[in-house]
């Protein structure tokens, strides 16, 4: 029955912090099997939106559904279908990579034997097996992203929600992550991720939404949003911005 529903549907999600409106009513339908890019400048509300969508932050208004299950009314069903990699959130980083994976797997109610097998495979594929028993807190930024992705993938979720998966990741690791995500979508999974890097989004995504000032400004398939221009032009036009005239900051050049 879940297949008739979009993988993720957000309706009227809104959040206000004190006096600042972070997200002002976001509607989004992420079709099953799509590779969805959520674009936006810093402070646009990407993290806030995704946090509300996965149950980390209680919205002031609106609802979020994962394959038809309400994240806030039926969290157990919704969360079992979800794999999440939040940004700006620490992992339980005083565990080693393998320990962390085992923890996540058992927390999801998986069979220990399956956890062992998948953890070994993931560590191997993500080139983290060499780290041995190094604690995650001592990992490099790129390795932390990779182990975070592994934790999100371990239980074989139907929908992956990734916040800034390519931030602070070197090109080799980024290529690896792209490959894995491609295979995941090819196998019937759905991915939504946030980013402000146009190249990555243009290369990966089938669908794009541009978020600015807490609202969706453009949404559709990549071709629809981009038209015959480059995505970057559209983005800058939508978001608005200023360009330096060259008069200011003259003290920078000597």
């Amino acid at each position: 029955m879940t297949d008739q529903h979009p993988a993720l549907s957000l309706r009227g999600l809104a959040k206000r912090f004190d006096t600042k409106v972070a997200v002002a009513g976001v509607d989004l339908a992420v079709p099953t099997g799509s590779f969805y890019g959520l674009l936006g400048p810093n402070g646009a509300g990407k993290t806030t939106t995704l946090s509300m969508a996965v149950g980390l932050l209680r919205p002031d208004a609106g609802e979020a559904r994962v394959l038809g299950y309400d994240v806030w009314a039926d969290p157990v069903r919704a969360k079992s279908l979800l794999g999440v990699m939040p940004d700006g959130v620490r992992l339980f980083d005083r565990l080693s990579g393998a320990e962390l994976l085992a923890y996540h797997g058992l927390l999801r109610g998986m069979d220990p034997a399956v956890v062992d097998q998948r953890a070994a495979e993931l560590l191997d594929v993500l080139a983290l097996a060499d780290a041995g028993r190094t604690l995650v807190v001592d990992y490099s930024a790129g390795m932390k992203k990779k182990i975070g992705l592994a934790c999100a993938l371990l239980h074989g979720p139907r929908l992956l929600v990734l916040d800034e998966p390519f931030e602070a990741v070197d090109p080799v690791s980024a290529a690896l992550i792209r490959d894995i995500l491609h295979r995941y979508v090819g196998g019937g999974g759905t991915v939504i991720f946030s980013s402000h890097v146009m190249e990555v989004v243009e290369r990966l995504c089938s669908h794009v939404a541009i978020l600015a000032e807490g609202r969706i400004k453009r949404v559709g398939t990549l071709a629809e949003v981009r038209g015959d221009r480059s995505l970057e032009d559209v983005f800058v036009e939508v978001v608005g911005g200023r360009t330096a005239t060259g008069e200011e900051l003259s003290w920078l050049s000597r």
Binding site: D18, V54, G55, L56, L57, R58, P75, V76, K79, S80, L82, V84, P86, G88, V89, R90, L91, F92, D93, R94, L95, S96, A98, E99, L101, A102, Y103, H104, G105, L106, L107, R108, G109, P112, V115, D116, Q117, A119, A120, A131, G132, R133, T134, L135, V137, D138, C151, R254
Partner: protein
Amino acid sequence: MAVPVTVPERPARRVSAWHFVRLKLRVLGNNFRGQTWRVALFVLGVLFGLWFAAVGFFLLAVPGLAGESRYALMIAAFGGGLLTLGWLLLPLVFFGVDETLDPARFALLPLSRRTLVTGLLAAALVSVPALATAITAAGLVVTAGVLGGWAAALVGALGVVLGLLVCLAGARALTSAFAAMLRSRRVRDLAAVLLAVLAALLGPLQLLVLAAVRQTDWDRLDGVARVVGWTPFGAPWTAGVDVAEGRAGAAVVKLLIAVATLGVLLFWWSRSLESAMVGTASSGPARTPRGVAGGAVAQLFPRAVGWARRDRFGALVARECRYWWRDARRRANLITVAVVGVFVPVMVNLGGFSFSTEGGAAFGGADSSPALVSLSMIFVGALAAVTLANQFGFDGSSYAANLIAGVPGRVELRARMAAFSIYVVPMLLVIAVALAVVLGRPEWLGVMGGALFAAYGCGLAINALVSVLGAYSLPESSNPFALNSGAGFTKGLLTLVSMVGSAVVAVPFVVGAALLGDVWLWLALPVGLAYGGGAALLGAYMAGDTLDHRQPELLADVTPRR
């Protein structure tokens, strides 16, 4: 291609300590913005501070106000010495240090070590405890002034200022030195032992004070006071009294001692500051033992948790177990429980014993009684459990993982209780046995164990609720003693509430010990285990329900603002 880089000869304006003070005030002010409850807690903290300061002020000013010069030196030496000792030990053992201005934040600024240290010291003056200490110590100035006129008052004031600075610098130096040691993988176990020894000083100290109070021979105490007056603990505080009693030379030497102490402490602090500043960038070379044994799941479970099923509950217990040892902040808490847990009951029961033989006893009987032992055990049990009062604060934002996985609140809390108990229950048993041996009353073991586990179980229950409702974030600092500004009072208040709560719920065990007589010796242990276990389960059940309803809010509470 050489780019000409001009180095400015000197910054346009010197950075002075005043800048740090203003920065601290600004940060404090911004913390209060839009947070009414924080303001309320702060005001409450200030009121408490003023109350203690007023009491201390009058105690220290008594010799002056009464015109009684006989006890002036004694009160100055002991009062001042206790203040200093309190400043050195209490941050380590109970309160932590206010790290509103985290030294690591200044790592990239072109500040000399001297500027940084004096600035941070000046900023440290702007805190409720420092102001309360200043007010208290002003009592000494009054004493010196009344007994010896203006000159004595002036020297006394100078001494008090120096004394306060020694207190602040000592507290900072000691905590950052321990922080550095606890961070380092090589010497952290040594640091744990040292910390234990330091905290253990509290025990003999109280015995000493008790013995001293019983001493009616004031002249011998006077001799001790004179000696203390020449140590760094007493020197700055007694200088004013010395002038008043006509020993100007001694006063000058004492001020010099204080200055030298301050210098040494500041030097020591600046050394460990540097290691702390580097420490945030890299926590040193990682230990990477090779030869991974077994699969991922086998690695997660420590041997002590080998009994647990490989499921959600087991994983939570295993992870918590690993964290109690690997997280410096948690480990410091465990050590505190162990040390205080041993010494407080020994003190109370032996102290009570010596009191009562003198005939002036307030504690019943000619010996420590089952009721008194139960009472001290209840304190230990409640103290052990209070470590969990901010258990989610230890996790910080990593708690998000449990939220994403949708861990039910009851499972979460039960697992946390179980993991903590793996460390604490053996510890409590050792304490009970040790105390029974020290007192020479092995037949009381049952009573002790009963009270201990009843209080511990009740404490677990109450702290489960406190930790869900009253969680606050801890700074992501490498210093396990660091607290956010204003969190010190929150911590104290929550600790008090949950300890009193746990004790009240466990009171039937004191009553039982007092009234039931010998039957209780046999009944206490099974009843206590059932009572404590039941309370803990009930607590997890009720608090778990609350947790289910406010998981996202809890996550927001414990996520450090940056």
